[in-house]
């Protein structure tokens, strides 16, 4: 049977077919997206899909988009991406950290397909790029609001798993709350799941019962806000991943919105006009990937102004949320006076900063 080629030779065949296409302009691009959850999760995957739809909107007929929901890590991810590459996708966005090794393995076989991996760091081949968003910038703004707004001086954080991304967010949130309120204490609850809305509700309630009156969460459901709403305005929180505007003006006083559209449009556009290059993108508020949702009237004007000033300073590049002096939890110095955290330290962050109580689960 003539189709009985090995994968490698088929890939080589495709490579020939598209030879030279990488640098030249393209008339039409097929952009494919691999999602870790269902689009209906209302959070992480939903926001990525909004970005995919932005691409379609921006380029119309010149772009065809395809996607696959709920792809588990490992062999399944590898198969889905191989299948996408075989069926003519020119650029594949893999939107979960866990796809890292699969992305690089498939990329090796399809040198003329572009791979974009979200939140990872491995770029083993010239056709693999990585991208991420500086969510910790948004956490700095939230921390400022939290420090100013808390009356009990207890603020809370609902975390998923102890990974650098989450720890970075906790540190930034606490650092900026402490900065404006030296008496503030932080309680962290680890849910040990990415997704269990009822558990998030229970975690929020546990925090509230412990006297916490400002809650931030690193899990995507509105359950913590709904719990906060039951306290009749005593407890506030933030929208996470999406704006969660239905809880305005309180308990949702602001939000961090994942906004992948600008990056996706930029990358697909570059592929269309022939300017595409391998990248290691980590943009934040400045690049439009992290949006700070409207700060509502539940926040006093001076606090709102302070938070917005910080947002603007971060956007302008005049302020970095992790600027020394900052010590680690055990008191050893991390950043000296005026020193700005190197990206490597942030990406691999596995320690709390000074002042946070408790331990990171190991």
């Amino acid at each position: 049977m003539k189709r009985r080629h090995l994968l490698a030779s088929a890939a080589a065949g495709l490579a020939l077919a598209f030879a030279g296409a990488a640098q030249a302009q393209m008339d039409k691009v097929k952009a494919c997206f691999v999602y870790v959850g269902p689009i209906g999760d209302g959070g992480w995957t939903y926001q990525h899909h909004q970005g995919a739809l932005d691409v379609q909107k921006a380029f119309g007929d010149k772009v065809e988009i395809a996607w696959q929901e709920s792809v588990p890590e490992g062999a399944d991810a590898e198969r889905v991406m191989t299948q996408m590459a075989l069926s003519g996708c020119n650029i594949i966005f893999a939107t979960s950290f866990g796809y890292m090794d699969a992305v690089n393995a498939v990329a090796a076989k399809f040198p003329n397909v572009k791979f974009e991996h979200a939140t990872g760091f491995k770029r083993e081949h010239p056709n693999v790029s990585t991208y991420n968003a500086r969510f910790y910038e948004g956490r700095a703004v939230q921390g400022t609001i939290a420090g100013r707004m808390t009356k009990t001086n207890k603020i809370g954080y609902i975390a998923s798993y102890p990974i650098p991304e989450v720890i970075m967010g906790i540190n930034s949130y606490f650092l900026h709350a402490r900065k404006v309120n030296p008496d503030v204490e932080l309680s962290v609850v680890w849910a040990f799941t990415w997704f269990d809305p009822a558990k998030e509700a229970d975690a929020a309630r546990a925090l509230i019962d412990q006297g916490v009156d400002v809650i931030a969460s690193h899990t995507d459901s509105t359950a913590p806000l709904a719990e906060a709403a039951k306290t009749g305005g005593k407890v506030i929180g933030f929208g996470q991943a999406s704006d969660m505007a239905e809880y305005k003006p309180t308990p949702r006083v602001s939000s961090i919105i994942d906004n992948w559209g600008p990056y996706y449009v930029k990358r697909v556009g570059a592929l269309l006009d022939g300017t595409y290059e391998q990248a290691d993108a980590w943009e934040g508020i400045a690049g439009g990937e992290v949006l700070i949702g409207e700060i509502t009237e539940a926040v006093p004007p001076e606090v709102k102004a302070e938070a917005e000033a910080m947002r603007d300073a971060i956007a302008a590049g005049t302020y970095h949320p992790f600027t020394g002096p900052i010590n680690k939890q055990d008191g050893t110095p991390w950043l000296a006076e005026g020193e700005v955290a190197p990206d490597g330290d942030l990406l691999g962050m596995d320690f709390y900063i000074e002042g946070i109580k408790g331990e990171i689960p190991r």
Partner: protein, 359 residues
């Protein structure tokens, strides 16, 4: 009015004819669903059932069927033994996880030593890990009369927490810049469960699954233990009368299913998955329960059922990506397929007769 009448003997014709009939019925019902969603039903059905086997990319996808079916078959055969004997291990997912962790831990502990012994020892450790995890419900049942359904299920959640701890803590890649996840076995040949022939999708897990299916078939048919298992399930009292030791049977069946689930986990982590990660498990342990029953608890039937399930996953995925169907529509379609496969099976044991007058 229709009624069912039990056949004196199962119909050999329907035994083999029901699966195709069920598949055709699913195609019709599923086609209606896809049409209602505004997709071309013929194209979708063709993509699901035809493309992975004979389509343009079949050279790749056929191998992927083996990758997907391997763990399902391996786990389901172990479970089927227990189910036949009335022993309900529904925590294979946890045993799968623990097998992967134990096997991977052995391999990672000796990194980067190169020795031919490493992989076999990992295989052993994987089987042991799954076996040990299954021994908890087994011993609690035999010693304290504790229901194994609850214990084995609860231990899945415990195993998931240990997995998260392994990925972010004790098995984390020291060169991974603090990110979760272990080293990848694909860059550690002595410990890797690589494809036996490049591009075939066949690795040691698939080979083991075939071997285990044959062994289980022989055991059930020709060995006294197989006889005891069947007897214990059909007539527990008679079994005891015939000298079947229930304690030993529980220990054997739970241990076997745990060890096989652990093996499946090890082959997966060292092969297709490549590493321990927080979300390493993707539900094989639960899907395998369905596979076991679809295969009528028969080892050879399970092989076919596992391949069919794998086909709906791989083909369904293609339909979803290429035609913009939500993944949920594929799930509904899979559910329908199972309903029809199970439902039509009634014809094997029963005849449908019209009823006249009152019953």
């Amino acid at each position: 009015m229709l009624r069912l009448e039990r056949r004196p003997n199962p119909s050999r014709f329907w035994l083999y004819a029901t699966p195709p009939v069920a598949v055709v019925l699913t195609m019709i019902a599923g086609g209606l669903l896809f049409a209602a969603m505004g997709k071309d039903p013929v194209a979708v059905i063709r993509t699901i059932f035809w493309e992975p086997l004979f389509g343009d990319f079949a050279f790749y996808l056929r191998g992927q069927l083996l990758v997907k079916a391997g763990p399902l078959i391996l786990i389901a055969i172990g479970l089927a033994m227990g189910f036949r004997a009335g022993i309900w291990n529904i925590g294979a997912e946890g045993q799968y996880i623990m097998g992967a962790i134990c096997g991977a831990a052995v391999g990672l502990a000796v990194y980067p030593t190169e020795s031919r012994l490493i992989f076999p020892v990992m295989v052993l450790a994987g089987a042991l890990g799954g076996w040990a995890w299954a021994m908890i419900p087994a011993i609690l049942r035999t010693r304290f009369n504790t229901n194994e359904i609850l214990v084995s299920l609860m231990l899945v959640y415990v195993a998931e927490t240990i997995l998260a701890k392994a990925a972010t803590g004790f098995l984390r890649n020291p060169d991974g810049m603090g990110f979760p996840g272990s080293r990848n076995f694909s860059s550690y040949p002595a410990a890797a469960n690589a494809e036996l022939f490049a591009g075939s999708g066949l690795h040691w897990g698939g080979v083991t699954a075939v071997f285990v299916a044959l062994a289980a078939h022989v055991l059930l048919r020709h060995h006294v233990l197989g006889y005891q298992i069947r007897l214990a399930g059909q007539a527990p009292r008679a079994a005891r009368f015939h000298g079947v030791d229930p304690t030993r049977l529980v220990i054997f069946c739970m241990g076997l299913s745990g060890a096989l689930a652990g093996l499946a986990g090890l082959f997966e982590v060292a092969g297709p998955a490549g590493q321990i990660s927080i979300d390493f498990n993707s539900g094989y342990g639960f899907t395998a329960i369905i596979v076991a029953f679809l295969g009528r608890l028969n080892p050879l039937g399970i092989v076919l059922a596992g391949l069919l399930m794998a086909l709906t996953y791989v083909g369904g995925e293609m339909a979803s990506t290429n035609m913009g169907l939500p993944a949920a529509a594929i799930q509904v379609f899979q559910g329908m397929l199972l309903f029809f496969l199970l439902g039509v099976d009634v014809l094997t044991n029963y005849r449908i007769r019209p009823v006249k007058g009152a019953r």
